[in-house]
Symmetry: C2
Subunit: 377 residues, 2 copies
């Protein structure tokens, strides 16, 4: 099995800043949110970031059932219609991939090579999970609640269905939803049709797509995506700290116009409104700072109210470059729990929780030759 052995595995460390063909296969399938989409308080569906570990499964809704079983008094089954007939809640929730920023690390852990834009905010509609667990009657000694998807594949040498768990306490929180709609429409296949778990505040790996079952365990869940993947660890021997809630991050819409290939921004020498969003899953955003000199000096920006208690805040800042030349624009979010984005990322083996400040390289002045559009002549 030469080719299989040859392929670099998830978790290998890459010294070069260049991206391997294996990483490219993931980069062309999955996508982040183009930064100009920060303009939308609610991200249009096709612009919301997407990470799919295995393949998108096909689901015939006529055959679909969610099972709730395990360490419960009364196992339950629900069709999609039965779930949709239950009390419903709509919540705007910001979701970010735990590996966002991974491609900026050196050496770089082999996995999805995100830059900084693996984020999105959607309005999820679903039914709260807690009353369903109450109906099932969780028995004494219950520990973890496992969420199993319909998506199957191999990771780390383990053939598995995608599964993640929550502690019973976290699973019983009011805001945890079984969502069947996004932005007012049924889930599209890539966002987990027909049903997805939504756990506001947590990184994306928690929000299990294509949810087929909920299993209450009387012990710790030791599945691959829970016990091995998604840990903040320095070495393979390190037992590590599980990845849970999102650290703060602010992103700006890059001003001006881009160069197609380098994505360098060309900006007129004038006053500009720099705008963006900031979020944290740990506490409300308490402030966002802007720098036009690569972080040497900072000014506090104007912060809007959050879109929801579980979604990002808009912010804006007036910036007027006084001289033609190059600038490095940065933004930095702080949350009410005292978490601040670092200027440089501390390294970890999986490349998770990378919330270093965004840096946008800007050239103030004319780009080059100008092609007058046909309609101006």
């Amino acid at each position: 099995m030469a080719k299989v052995a040859q392929a670099r595995q998830a978790g290998s460390l890459i010294e070069s800043p260049d991206i391997t063909p294996e990483e490219l296969q993931l980069a062309v399938r999955n996508h982040s949110m183009p930064l100009e989409a920060l303009r939308y308080a609610i991200t249009p569906v096709g612009l919301h970031y997407l990470l799919i570990h295995f393949d998108i499964p096909t689901v015939d809704v006529a055959d679909y059932e969610l099972t709730v079983a395990g360490h419960v008094r009364k196992p339950l089954r629900f069709t999609l219609d039965q779930l949709a007939a239950r009390p419903s809640t709509t919540l705007a929730v910001t979701l970010e991939c735990a590996g966002n920023g991974r491609a900026r690390l050196s050496p770089r852990p082999m996995s999805q090579p995100w830059l900084a834009e693996a984020v999105g905010t959607a309005e999820w509609t679903g039914t709260p999970l807690a009353p369903i667990l109450e109906e099932a009657g969780v028995l004494d000694g219950a520990h973890d609640v496992v969420f199993t998807g319909l998506d199957r594949g191999v990771q780390g040498g383990v053939d598995q269905y995608y599964e993640r768990s929550l502690s019973l306490t976290d699973a019983m929180r009011d805001e945890v939803l079984l969502a069947y709609a996004i932005n007012g429409r049924p889930l599209p296949p890539q966002h987990g049709f027909p049903l997805r778990l939504i756990v506001p505040g947590w990184y994306g790996m928690t929000h299990v797509k294509w949810l087929r079952s909920i299993t209450v365990l009387d012990r710790l869940f030791a599945g691959y995506q829970q016990a091995r993947a998604y840990h903040q660890r320095a070495t393979a021997d390190d037992s590590g700290v599980p990845v849970t809630r999102m650290l703060p991050r602010a992103l700006m819409v890059p001003p001006g116009v881009p160069d197609f290939m380098s994505r360098t921004r060309f900006v007129e020498p004038a006053m500009h409104t720099i705008e963006g969003r900031a979020w944290s899953g740990r506490a409300p955003i308490s402030g966002v700072d802007f720098s036009a000199d690569g972080g040497a000096s900072w000014t506090e920006v104007t912060l809007d109210a959050p879109v929801s208690p579980f979604a990002w805040n808009g912010w804006s800042h007036r910036w007027g470059p006084t001289a033609v030349g190059e600038y490095e624009l940065c933004v930095r979010a702080t949350d009410a729990a005292g978490n601040v984005q670092p200027m440089d990322q501390s390294w970890n083996l999986e490349g998770v929780e990378n919330n270093a400040v965004q840096r946008v390289h800007v050239v103030v002045g004319a780009a080059a030759d100008r092609q007058e559009p046909a309609d101006s002549r």
Copy 2:
């Protein structure tokens, strides 16, 4: 302007199979269609491939107007409501990026690093262009019709709005639409809201998004995206052949389940239905062949009717690997004009029109350890 000079420019040639950080910036913004989405005759919006040269512009529909002017008797203006009140047509159209397959070339032209999946089929609703040009009264001596978008950026050192042209003859074809809806809904921002040109059969660069104006010229259009980019040429001095209609291509849904990182497929030793789609913008698809031995031998597959005269055909094939081991699955489309997909790609400077056959590496047999899902215990 050190960083600008340092950045590799579109069109540079890269010897290494590894992807540069500049290419990654495009790969995380744009995305192809995950191959399992070949299951859908009509691609869900968020799964349709997307290539955006510059930034997605914001458009306030209250301010929006399409202008039709230039070498015409009576210049016209239309609001979106006025366009939507005109006769409408809905067409299923397969769109593919002209650079699809570029990342497989060696050396590799610097641009969006597509593998093989930069494709999608949508139902576009709009009003035919020809009657609008007739109302405007194209004058004698008209040559090209230029379509200008609202998206602006720098490419090849030229600050430009995205613009492409068609000959008057091509622009007057019945199937050319000004589309304001996709899959029955208004265009989302990333697909050209509020209006997009649709030219069935042509590669994606023709279907100008965020269309703001149509300008009839009494001469050849010499804009960057028309005269410099999108040519099949061997060297920079070569005047080249313009890229127009799509060459044939077939793609399969990779069978079995994937390894997360290598995307190697693990398949049970049993009978499988291999399915996929095939299309050509040159002529109807006349046949699709399947190979399980890397192209050494071929079998003709079962071909369905096309989804529309301008969209792909479904196809399927029964395959039962007789032995555990590794296989290289290939599919090859032929169209009625005699165009056949090559096994190996002939090289060109921009990496356009790469329609070499797809190769899917498959391992028949068990993957590895198996994690029983929580709901099976």
